[in-house]
């Protein structure tokens, strides 16, 4: 009954090959990540300390810490989150739940897809023209956050739409069948079951914005700006600020005789910041998954 035939042996061989070849590649992709982190940590080790995190740079940015840059990056990321997340999520809800398939929807969808592909330097120029100059915000945290927000918006729309369309159509139909409005359907069934995906997409995209240099360079980031001792918030929203990405760029290309470990330590902090945002996403996802319903 269970005799092995030539075909069944070949089938088993192919199955094993596929299993282990794909598995090896999956393990392989983690190597670059591990190598990068290990290398950075190794090079940055002498400098890493709490003081490094929470002190102003000194000696023409050759010594001291990176607190202003870290704070600046956190401000930019947080404010751009406030700009991009509500608009992006609500636009995506409209596009996925309300919009019928007509030329207007197609144009909007096309615009979203194309905007997501626009290089960040182009967004930077747009931000410079629209927010810094035209709106008169000047080079400031506000202008830079808006620019980052505009840049992340299309990707947030796309990821939110993805999360929404993962909710089975039959759920929506069941709700509409009993006389619920679209909004009641969205509130009652669609959003509760897509919120983990939506939040994950939003946070991942925002954390990507933390590493961007070009958009903030044109619109609000500066080489050097110290934070006074004892100031609660550090920056004013109309101030220019330092950012980690910009700081890294500066100390590697503009500052001579910086200690070897300094750029690596800065990179580690940048990486840590991004990972911290991602970790938030993972925690949220796990928490909301436990309430996932089907």
């Amino acid at each position: 009954m269970f005799q092995s035939t030539a075909y069944s042996r070949a089938k088993t061989r192919r199955e094993l090959l596929a299993h282990y070849a794909l598995g090896a590649l999956a393990v392989g992709v983690t190597f670059p990540v591990i190598l990068i982190v290990a290398y950075l940590l190794h090079e940055a080790w002498p400098l890493l300390s709490w003081d490094f995190l929470f002190a102003n740079p000194t000696g023409g940015m050759r010594h001291g810490g990176i607190w202003p840059a870290l704070l600046g990056t956190m401000y930019l990321v947080t404010f751009s989150l406030f700009v991009a997340a509500p608009i992006g999520v609500m636009a995506a809800i409209y596009l996925n739940e309300y919009a019928t398939d007509n030329w207007f929807t197609r144009v909007v969808n096309l615009a979203v897809v194309n905007l997501a592909g626009v290089p960040s330097i182009v967004h930077a120029l747009f931000g410079l023209g629209a927010f810094v100059l035209f709106a008169g915000l000047g080079r400031s945290i506000l202008a830079a956050s808006l620019t980052l927000g505009i840049m992340t918006l299309p990707v947030i729309v796309a990821s939110t739409k993805e999360a929404l369309s993962a909710v089975p159509l039959s759920f929506r139909e069941a709700c509409l069948n009993v006389g619920a409005t679209r909004w009641q359907t969205i509130r009652g069934v669609v959003l509760p079951n897509s919120v983990s995906g939506i939040l994950t997409g939003v946070i991942l995209e925002i954390s990507r914005a933390a590493g961007e240099t070009a958009p903030v360079m044109f619109t609000g980031a500066v080489f050097y700006k110290m934070i006074e001792e004892g100031q609660l918030f550090g920056y004013n929203i109309m101030d220019q600020c330092m950012t980690l990405s910009m700081h890294l760029f500066t100390i590697t290309t503009q500052v001579t005789e910086a200690p070897h470990a300094l750029p690596f330590a800065t990179a580690i902090v940048l990486l840590g910041t991004v990972l911290a945002f991602n970790a938030t996403a993972i925690v949220l996802r796990v928490y909301l998954r436990t309430r996932k319903k089907w």
Partner: protein
């Protein structure tokens, strides 16, 4: 949920209804009436347009992109095309889809969803309503101790009865059942059939079924749909006897239809 009752005893009047999906015709000009408090059976093979027809009654046909509907559907004296509050129409026309859908909310919330959507907030009223609907759908005894379990965690047959309970929860005037017994065992099917006989005192029932015997047991009148057209329509006693006018009807009822 107040609806204008017409003077006649016609609950539904369909006149020369054509429906096509992306140019492919699904219903080819059908006309029929359903009387109030009647159980109206619709039989026919797959792709004959039964589900399409039901979807025209509560205008969920609009949710399918690329559909074209021509002709009139009058529900409760009002042309559905001109109904302004489509939610109200859908509350009046209860719909049980062939595939069971437990919503990913608690069993209680599944049944309370429609009344809440219609504005009922009183907890005591909701409790009574939920229990009554679950009982009518022959599900209450099985779930009464776990009302806060997710509707999606129920078995297929239980979800189907949950779907029925949800359709009853908004107290429709017309109840459309689209092959409700697909996922339910014969014993439970019989229990629900008994409930339907009770319910007809309160509402008009349209019963789409693949089980010819079920239509014979329940329906006062039966319509045989085939390929988007009505083959024959008449009293069930006639339709399911040798006196059916059309050879195709007799063949289908006797399971010879190819």
């Amino acid at each position: 949920m107040i609806a204008l009752k017409p003077a006649t005893n016609l609950e539904i009047a369909v006149d020369n209804l054509h429906v096509s999906y992306a140019g492919k015709p699904a219903l080819k000009g059908i006309s029929f009436d359903v009387k109030r408090h009647e159980i109206f059976g619709i039989i026919g093979p797959a792709q004959s347009g039964k589900t399409t027809l039901l979807r025209c009654l509560n205008r969920t046909i609009e949710l399918v992109p690329g559909t074209k509907v021509v002709g009139d559907v009058i529900v409760g004296g009002e042309n559905v095309k001109r109904v302004k509050d489509v939610c109200d129409l859908r509350r009046r026309v209860g719909m049980v889809a062939p595939l069971p859908v437990g919503l990913p909310i608690s069993i209680y919330d599944n049944v309370a969803f429609a009344p809440r959507a219609a504005g009922l907030r009183n907890k005591a009223d909701l409790d009574v309503l939920v229990e009554r609907c679950l009982t009518q759908a022959a599900l209450f005894d099985e779930v009464k101790d776990r009302m806060h379990m997710l509707g999606t965690k129920l078995s297929g047959g239980q979800q189907q009865r949950l779907t029925i309970a949800r359709a009853l929860s908004h107290e429709p005037d017309i109840l459309c059942l689209d092959e409700f017994s697909i996922a339910i065992d014969p014993v439970t099917t019989m229990r629900i059939e008994e409930v339907l006989k009770e319910l007809r005192r309160e509402m008009t029932i349209i019963l789409v079924t693949n089980l010819v015997q079920q239509a014979r047991r329940l329906a006062d009148r039966t319509m045989f749909l085939w390929n988007g057209s009505i083959v024959e329509m008449g009293d069930s006693t006639l339709m399911f006897s040798e006196k059916a006018r059309e050879q195709r009807t007799r063949d289908y009822v006797n399971g010879i239809f190819g």
